[in-house]
């Protein structure tokens, strides 16, 4: 249970029912706050040292972290992604998604991911944030031959994300993106290739994906668009 010292104080002053276990707990700690003697602080610190208590700051941060680890999607990735470092970057993507409505926190976390994991780590996180990994896994499942191969394919796309995904930036030019995507496809012949653009980059991604679709005859194309994003999935098909 997360208890906020400030909110407890407010609850007490607002006269919440003592029958509520939440307000009871709240009032209990509000009193502790109001007369936080050195003895009280000592007791809290002892609990901290005994691993029974943690002092947190913003409850929303904890809620986001919990979702990174406890959501169904997180559990799914935990099952199929065995590389701990990559899995952590995937979790960061779940956190980014959770923060999408809070632009400042979203930007702050993006910066921290970039600082620690460079552009590749940020791209892995964005790959998850935008739901591309969802869809990508759906396509993999469609052609799955074995569980081991499935796991290997997921890791392959994440570890070598720049060979499988083109992240269009808002400052990108359509012609450059089409050229870059063509170069990546020609060099790596990926079974699945993704062109993604979010926010101001969505329009450029859309134009790039449509031009690329005309050029890449060996791929079936699926276009997904959302509120401020456009994603193209190019899936290679072979004629026999």
């Amino acid at each position: 249970m997360i208890t906020s010292l400030a909110s407890r104080h407010m609850s007490k002053n607002m006269g919440m029912s003592s029958e509520s276990p939440i307000s009871d707990a709240a009032e209990g700690t509000a009193k502790a706050v109001l007369d936080w003697s050195s003895d009280k602080i000592h007791a809290f610190v002892e609990k901290l040292r005994n691993r029974k208590l943690a002092f947190i700051c913003d409850e929303a941060t904890i809620a986001t972290v919990r979702e990174e680890y406890n959501s169904g999607e997180a559990k799914f990735y935990e099952t199929y992604i065995e590389d701990k470092d990559i899995l952590f970057q995937v979790r960061m993507g779940l956190a980014l998604r959770k923060l999408e409505r809070d632009k400042k926190r979203l930007r702050d976390l993006r910066e921290r991911i970039y600082k620690k994991y460079k552009i590749k780590g940020l791209h892995i996180a964005e790959f998850v944030q935008t739901g591309i990994l969802h869809r990508y896994i759906g396509l993999l499942i469609g052609g799955m031959r074995s569980l081991e191969e499935f796991k290997k394919d997921i890791i392959e796309v994440l570890v070598n994300i720049e060979k499988h995904v083109l992240f269009v930036q808002e400052a990108s030019k359509t012609a450059d993106m089409v050229q870059k995507a063509s170069n990546i496809i020609d060099a790596n012949s990926p079974d699945i290739f993704v062109v993604s653009g979010i926010g101001d980059a969505a329009k450029i991604a859309d134009e790039s994906g449509k031009k690329l679709e005309i050029m890449q005859r060996d791929y079936k194309v699926e276009r997904i668009s959302g509120e401020d994003e456009v994603i193209f999935f190019f899936k290679r098909f072979v004629k026999f």
Binding site: I41, V45, N50, K52, A54, F55, T61, I62, D108
Partner: protein
């Protein structure tokens, strides 16, 4: 595990908690007894008193952000 939010708590209370743990502050940042700023070991930035979390496990003092706390979970287990 019981979680106590320090958000909205007075500076005086936070400083008292830090003192009990053997740390100090210059009013902005958390300081070690030697006077050095405490650095969030996961993202390598000094920890501000108004943005600190104190987690079990050798009294880990971190900045309040998703990356640091997730890194803590990775190291110490999903205890939160």
């Amino acid at each position: 595990m019981e979680l106590i939010s320090l958000k909205g708590t007075s500076l005086k209370t936070k400083l008292a908690i830090l003192k009990e743990l053997g740390y100090g502050s210059d009013g902005d940042y958390v300081l070690r007894s030697s006077g050095e700023k405490v650095v969030d070991k996961y993202i390598d930035i000094p920890v501000r008193v108004d943005h600190m979390v104190i987690l079990p496990g050798s009294e880990v003092i971190l900045d309040d952000n998703e990356l640091s706390i997730s890194s803590y979970v990775e190291e110490y287990g999903n205890v939160l």
